[in-house]
Symmetry: C2
Amino acid sequence: MALMVRSWHNRFMQSAKAPPINPEDVRAAAASIAGVAHRTPVVRSRTLDQLVGAEIFLKCENLQRAGAFKFRGAYNAASRLAPERLARGLATYSSGNHGQAIALAARELGTTAVVVMPKDAPESKADAVAGYGAEVLTYDRYSEDRAAIGESLARDRGLTLIPPYEHPHVIAGQGTAALELMEDAPDLDALFVPVGGGGLIAGCATIATDLQPKIHVVGVEPEAGDDTKKSLALGRRVSVPVPRTIADGQAAETPGELTFSINQRLVEGIELVSDEQILDAMRFAFERLKLVVEPSGATALAALLAGKLDHKVRRAGVVLSGGNVDSRRFSGLVTRSR
Amino acid sequence: MALMVRSWHNRFMQSAKAPPINPEDVRAAAASIAGVAHRTPVVRSRTLDQLVGAEIFLKCENLQRAGAFKFRGAYNAASRLAPERLARGLATYSSGNHGQAIALAARELGTTAVVVMPKDAPESKADAVAGYGAEVLTYDRYSEDRAAIGESLARDRGLTLIPPYEHPHVIAGQGTAALELMEDAPDLDALFVPVGGGGLIAGCATIATDLQPKIHVVGVEPEAGDDTKKSLALGRRVSVPVPRTIADGQAAETPGELTFSINQRLVEGIELVSDEQILDAMRFAFERLKLVVEPSGATALAALLAGKLDHKVRRAGVVLSGGNVDSRRFSGLVTRSR
């Protein structure tokens, strides 16, 4: 009997529907962002390896331009627009990091952007969007539908809406983080990736399972925002109540349709972490790695530090997906009573 | 008339005394620490360049092993001991980072270490020394003489004392930070370096003025610890009262004899920064660079952000000399009222 190689190709062969993106789309995205997005460093820590009992490779997307992996997908999507469409401007909705990324991509490409943001997003994120020259519109994320607001805005003003994850070029762009990581750290047995709407892990899983068919791609969600875990268990997209978690970048209520169709085939499973475990990971990154990681950006590391790595894994990649937390919010979080 | 090239050689030619170290000693140190100390990254920031009006190259010694440049000098000095002396053990006195560095160097070289530390050093620094397996002895830095304690300890127990800066191999080791920086970022017009006892800047200035005779090497001290600035102005070593500053790594009362003899010839001048300016630099590093820098490690960056860069400088190197501040202390510092 032939050994079952669970490559990207084999996993999607079982499906009647065409995959939303191919590994080649991730490679094309890598070419389109080259020289504009940073090739972020991969950091090692002897202390971490000892604590976890494996070799860990940390992909530092907190050091990406605009402070998170989001710039990869935003720039990839925006740069593929026809010049006339690009010139009319971009629009998006975002809890923050994708908004900053679209604002920066617009500036880099010489156009304008409007970003619809929740009223309660961290102030530093709204300031950063405005700082890149974009217009900010706020909404109440407990009562209003951001997608509807974004769509009508784009229609009314003739803008191109680039959503945070439900877009093939966005997903392909995010996958370049894993492509670079696996070029720098080959032969990974596992890859841990934070999951919000699922765009980052969908892009990463697409390229990772192509490069390394036996890799285990594991998602990490905050306990309060376990929509992807529940959806994978039931085999269909379900909704959870608006998550109340410090991981503001992972406050999705339901997985994306495109992203879920990918993650259902390529993602091994989802680990959950508590806000306390996220804070422990942020403290670890601060004190041992000297790196600033925001709550959502620390969840994959938190899963490892909480002992959720399978003992058979020898080499694991981890995406530190963002670093946008201001020093005052960080201080409030890490000093609150335990 | 021949152009006066103010190379390392020419600057020391004017002196009757032999220099404590030569540029070749720094190159030899680089060979001795290779593969043991990290070659730390050089970080750029578009935001910083715009704020300062020059190209700035940040040498990230906060990412060095044991969290500061100190490991370079400690390991260089310890690794040159004869095997019998090394086996008897090391001793030192230090406000923290040099102690951690000696503790780690001892562990790496398979020997023991005793570290004499001030009672009021940040707790995380004492914990880290103990964590590397060294013995910690505390003293009161407002009433006791740490050098005397260290010397009698070394004599009584047959240990080799490696002081934090008054030692040619320590000074040469610290200079490797500038050697690496200038290999990665050639043609610097200026180099900004934090000054405590003066070992880091003495080593850096030795190699920098050899590689680039016209470079301006500028030291940065906290306002309360301006012993080197005063000493340079008077042309002799003077003492200041025990400095009360958040920059605990720069609480020297007087420059070292060896280090001052070098700095007097090679250092252009000293800039002073207030505790508030140091905190601004720590916040900038946190929020814009996503890097943790301790107060002493942020002083050179603070000088630039406070507008102390000469407008003629086009390319400047800056040493971020350490990152050993725990998250609780950081939080207390950055949230205190302004």
